[in-house]
Amino acid sequence: MALITQTPGNYYSNINDNYGEYQFTSLSDVIDQFMIAYVGDNKVIPRVNAYEVQFHAKRALQELSFDTFKSCKSQEITLQPNLQMVLPQDYVNYVKVSWVAADGIKRRIHPTTRTSNPKPKFINENGGYEVLATATSVTNTSNDIVLDGEYPNILPDMTLQGAMDNTGLNGFTVVSNTVSNGITTLTMSGPATASFTGNQLLNFTYANGELAIDNEPFYLTSLGNITISEKMITSFVTGGLDANISQVKVGMKIYHPNFPVGTLVTAIDTNPVSGAAVVISLSEDAIAGYTTAYDTVGIFCDENPDSDTWTKYRGVDRASENNRTVESFDVEDISRYGLDPQYANVNGNFYIDCDSGKIHFSSDLVGKTIVLDYISDTLGSNKEMKVHKFAEEAMYKWVAHAILSSTMNVPEGLVARYKKERFAAVRTAKLRLSSIKLEEITQILRGKSKQIKH
């Protein structure tokens, strides 16, 4: 029975969107065929459940994807001024990162290990990790603490630690943080048991033990209307709008008494159809409305702020001649004598921030077409779960060895035999998939008499 089931007419009209599919066998077929040929009475594997074969076949597909199969996956973007590229959804590792010049030829971008994007942690002027503030007054039975200035970095969920024992506020959690005329008032989760006036240094830390992030929170006053159960704040103030509005970005967290903790900004519209001045869309519904005045205050902060390291690296204008040709990242050293060859390239640099899942590029690549060639484990979608016919035998041998070696009471000689057969089959597959053609090798070897320049 022939393997082709589609008529030539259907194939060439691409009815099933399967150009070139004949070179592959689906993973499902590999598993079915394995069960037929290797499993059963008087076979090498008398009994095995299909799910075990499925597991080993998928593992084989993953492993072979990493170093035997050809890598066909790539992605192209135009690099924006943020100099970042999000790693593809099915990314496992990169093969090559390059930019494309006007001639369409890819120029390889080299990775750098000399910079990174660390997490910025908050540290106070005393070198500690607590957020410090100075209290000026507390009133008996009131939940409020009046501070001596603006403290947008004291966020709800922070706990007051080791101060104000005399007022009974120690250990209470911040419920809200509002500002008026440059003075911050904190509302705590419990009332004071005594009054206080003067200057008292306060320490705030997160109750869950997390360290504060150096994300420079800021107030936004006169926010506008909030309607209960709606995911937005609408400001109709056309004049005197808080200048900080320009700092609000999508993805920022908002701390506001009318919204649950953890609410994020999903969109900002500074020219809405409704005629309002600004509409800030949020991820959560308002738990209370606010319609009668514009004096409500919210704190906005970036949960994933850029580190200073990244900001500085990004800020260097590497497109200028001096900085571009140095390539040593030491922008003040423009000498070329003694240049380390590993840094001697004019194609820019990148590094991968594993934590955020983004590739960061040097500034000379802004606006350029970036191509990322990468490998996946071929398990991302059902359509890509397929094996090149050159590697089909390697799959069978891999699965057979994996099952035999993980089953009790299998003769060790049989396991060893299949280990050797798997090794040989994988090597054969790799060689075949390398697609070495005699004429192409010959063409390369024709240049063998050229002088090798060092």
């Binding site: 499902s28 598993i31 009475d41 459940n49 299909a50 799910y51 075990e52 499925q54 597991f55 998928k58 593992r59 398990l379």
Partner: protein, 230 residues
């Protein structure tokens, strides 16, 4: 199909009813059904035994094929409905065979409940429409993924219909009545006639307290079974 009257007459002849004992139709019918189920059960053990032996390629002597033919009388297949993955057992099910979804296109593996629980935790092993699994609980097949469909095919060995020697009483004697409303023949393969006679005779010997008959029948029965496995 084995004719029940033939078996009854042979059993009576061997029991030598005039001199030694008589087996009533009621007793015979009871023993007949027990013997039929014993033979059916023995098929499963024999399949297991003969699958472990080399077998042969002769036309009429490969025991695996012979057993498959004998069991074929009771093998059946039904298309059933699954509601949220639950399929009720067929009413005449004796031994469950395979379960398929999509009209037989994909076979479901039978697992235990804890195995199903384990494999659903990993995306590498999780059951899907291509590789469904099932476990059994409360006489129900529980498919994973929990599909709702009308094309679940279940293959199984069904229960044999109860054999019954029908009769009418004339002059205080039971005479055979072949009327299908009264008589049901054995469903077993024709080649089981001899073993049926010996099995029923063995049981009858025990019932009428004639050890010589029971021992004779047991010896003959063992002889048949041993010759099959030599």
């Amino acid at each position: 199909m084995v004719l029940i009257d033939t078996v009854y007459q042979r059993v009576l002849a061997l029991a030598n009813k005039e001199q030694r004992g008589y087996i009533t139709p009621q007793e015979f019918n009871l023993f007949a059904n027990q013997a039929q189920l014993e033979i059916l059960d023995q098929y499963m053990n024999d399949v297991n035994y003969f699958n472990r032996t080399p077998g042969n390629s002769e036309e009429y002597a490969d025991m695996s094929r012979i057993l498959d033919e004998k069991l074929g009388v009771f093998k059946t297949e039904l298309t059933l409905s699954a509601v949220n993955g639950i399929v009720n057992f067929p009413v005449n099910l004796y031994k469950l065979g395979k379960v398929y979804i999509r009209n037989g296109a994909r076979e479901a593996d039978q697992l235990t409940k804890d195995q199903v629980s384990r494999i659903t935790k990993s995306r590498l092993t999780a059951p899907n429409q291509q590789r469904p699994v099932f476990d059994i609980l409360n006489n129900q097949i529980r498919l994973q993924p929990a599909i709702s469909a009308n094309d679940v095919v279940v293959s199984f060995v069904r229960k044999p219909i109860s054999a019954n020697w029908g009769y009418v009483v004339i002059n205080n004697k039971a005479l055979y009545d072949p009327n299908p409303a009264k008589t049901t023949n054995f469903e077993l393969h024709d080649s089981e006639e001899t073993e049926l006679v010996y099995k029923i005779l063995k049981l009858s010997g025990a019932a009428i307290q004639r050890n010589d008959i029971a021992q004779f029948a047991q010896g003959m029965e063992q002889g048949i079974q041993q010759s099959e496995k030599v």
